[in-house]
């Protein structure tokens, strides 16, 4: 399943789960394979000792480290620190991204003059700017929030723009016929029609923002999940480091799932397939 993204390339979207009678069987197969892999891992490391446990601790040890981690107040402090920065940066990016995206998508003049630069900035690996942000804004929260904002804002702008461009003209005309104009037209017609696009931009932006937060903490941080992970790996406490990575995997997947759920809730009239057709 693909959607045509703002960059004009086909981007695959995670297929919606289709519940069929045979589907449950595959879930069991998946669980079985994962269990088998974990068992083989455990066997190779702790029983046969093919790999030194220092390099690759067995799953049981990682699980123990994970449970230990969840019981530590230090971890929850770091969690709150990282998530706080991420949420602030993301909220700023959503507000700016949706407003700029709607404006640029709606106005042909703006689209022509500004959009090429936005597109160029979108395809730039902006993570390279991270050291400069730390240089300018220091090691505190500000540099991380700015980094989250910078990385998250462009996918939101470009997807919103794409959505605003593809709003059906007949909807706009119908609105005009009924005397809806100006800001009200934007709020009642353009914004809802663009919403699913914005949300898929926000989904991408959230993942990139997470990268920004963690990178900021790696490069110069005094707290946060990335700092904990870096510290554990540096001390060669591999069980703790892998447990931290699992925490991040859970956070990232939970965020994506949450935004997908939000999209289904807020824009139930659209699904991914419809977006493909519309663009």
């Amino acid at each position: 399943m693909t959607v045509t993204s703002a960059t004009g390339t086909n981007r695959i979207v995670r297929p919606r789960r289709v519940v069929r009678s045979g589907e449950g069987r595959w879930a069991w197969l998946l669980v079985g394979v994962v269990a088998a892999v974990l068992l083989a891992w455990e066997a190779a490391v702790s029983w046969l000792q093919l790999v030194p446990a220092v390099f690759l601790p067995p799953p049981t040890e990682i699980l123990a480290a994970f449970v230990r981690l969840l019981g530590e107040p230090e971890f929850w402090q770091a969690f709150a620190y990282s998530m706080g920065n991420l949420l602030i940066g993301l909220a700023l990016a959503i507000v700016v991204g949706v407003v700029v995206g709607l404006a640029v998508g709606w106005s042909p003049v703006l689209r022509f003059t500004v959009a090429p630069f936005l597109w160029l900035l979108y395809s730039t690996p902006k993570v390279a700017l991270a050291p400069l942000f730390i240089l300018i804004l220091g090691l505190g929260n500000e540099s991380k929030i700015a980094l989250v904002f910078l990385l998250a804002v462009f996918p939101i702008i470009l997807n919103t723009m794409e959505g605003a461009v593809t709003v059906s003209p007949s909807l706009v005309n119908a609105g005009r016929v009924f005397g809806v104009n100006g800001v009200y037209l934007g709020w009642k017609v353009i914004f809802p029609a663009t919403l699913p696009y914005s949300l898929s931009g926000i989904q991408r932006g959230a993942a990139l923002g997470f990268t920004g937060e963690v990178l900021g903490e790696f490069l110069g941080g005094t707290g946060g999940l990335g700092h904990l992970l870096e510290f554990a790996a540096y001390q060669f406490m591999m069980a703790e480091a892998i447990a931290m990575v699992i925490v991040m995997v859970i956070i990232a997947n939970l965020t994506l799932w949450l935004i997908s759920a939000l999209r289904r809730r807020l824009a139930p009239w659209y699904d991914d397939r419809r977006i493909v057709g519309a663009s």
Partner: protein, 277 residues
């Protein structure tokens, strides 16, 4: 790229918008080029001449060019760019080497798809930066973790796109193939492959961007060589002009490789062009 040249829903308006819409493609390019020149001149004026922004934080274009020349003449650029290039190409080759066969296998066999698919999506959804400290601990400092991060960033878009391409092959064409007596191999060669290739190239384009991000992240956080190391060293010594020059080169590489993928696609699979605008 096509989004900003589309007409959009804003109907019945005149003025500058109508004038722009009426321009020929060549005229549009000229207006854009003019815009770029104006932007650069404005940037130079605000930072370099008027000094409204501290040039250490945001150097003007002329200083960035100077920084580029400094990097070039000191030989720093050539050695580090070569290291980055090597890591990027190796990692990308590994990603292609794993991604395409596994994607084809996922597309062919339903059990493999149902097992590998969810695992691949879960890993893909996590920003690859999370794996960087592990890579550093396992592969040491130097080029190893960079290759690992490039490969793991690039493999999933390729893998998942190829699998999606195989899965979404039009069933009526497959049926038509079987009706005309195509064997299993022939079916793959003439039905599955042509309909998967556009997906493959879409995945490759995504992979180029993600691989570049992975490379920069890995080099920024744990490597003494490569473009990322040049950027962070320049930034830490307040030579931001050199940092910006190095960033610009990375951008050129990323955009350039995306264009290369598109060119290869046009050459290898000209039939995919009609699917896009």
């Amino acid at each position: 790229m096509s989004a900003f040249l589309a007409s959009g829903p804003n109907l019945g308006r005149g003025g500058v918008g109508a004038w722009l819409a009426g321009l020929s493609p060549r005229g549009k390019v000229l207006v854009l080029a003019g815009e770029v020149v104006v932007m650069l001149a404005l940037w130079q004026l605000v930072v370099g001449v008027l000094g409204w922004i501290n040039p250490v934080f945001f150097p003007p274009p002329s200083a960035i060019w100077q920084g580029f020349l400094e990097l070039w003449s000191s030989g720093v650029l050539a050695t580090n760019a070569l290291v980055s290039l090597q890591a990027w190409l190796t990692g990308f080759a590994i990603a292609v080497g794993i991604g395409i066969p596994l994607g084809l296998l996922m597309g062919t066999s339903l059990p493999v798809d149902r097992v590998v698919g969810p695992i691949a999506w879960t890993i893909y959804a996590t920003p690859t930066i999370a794996y960087q400290p592990l890579a550093k601990a396992w592969f040491g400092f130097g080029i190893g973790p960079v290759i690992f991060l490039v490969a793991i960033s690039a493999v999933f878009p390729i893998l998942l796109n190829v699998a999606a391409g195989m899965r979404t092959t039009n069933p009526s064409i497959i049926r038509a193939g079987t009706v005309f007596g195509a064997g299993r191999f022939q079916l793959y060669r003439s039905v599955y492959l042509p309909s998967t290739v556009p997906f493959l190239f879409a995945g490759l384009r995504q992979a180029v961007v993600l691989a570049t991000i992975g490379m920069v992240v890995a080099e920024l956080t744990g490597s003494a060589q490569g473009m990322g190391a040049v950027i962070i060293r320049a930034a830490n010594t307040y030579q931001t002009d050199q940092a910006f020059a190095a960033i610009a080169l990375v951008v050129v590489w990323s955009v350039g490789m995306t264009q290369v993928v598109t060119l290869v696609e046009r050459w290898v699979a000209p039939w995919t062009r009609k699917a896009r605008r």
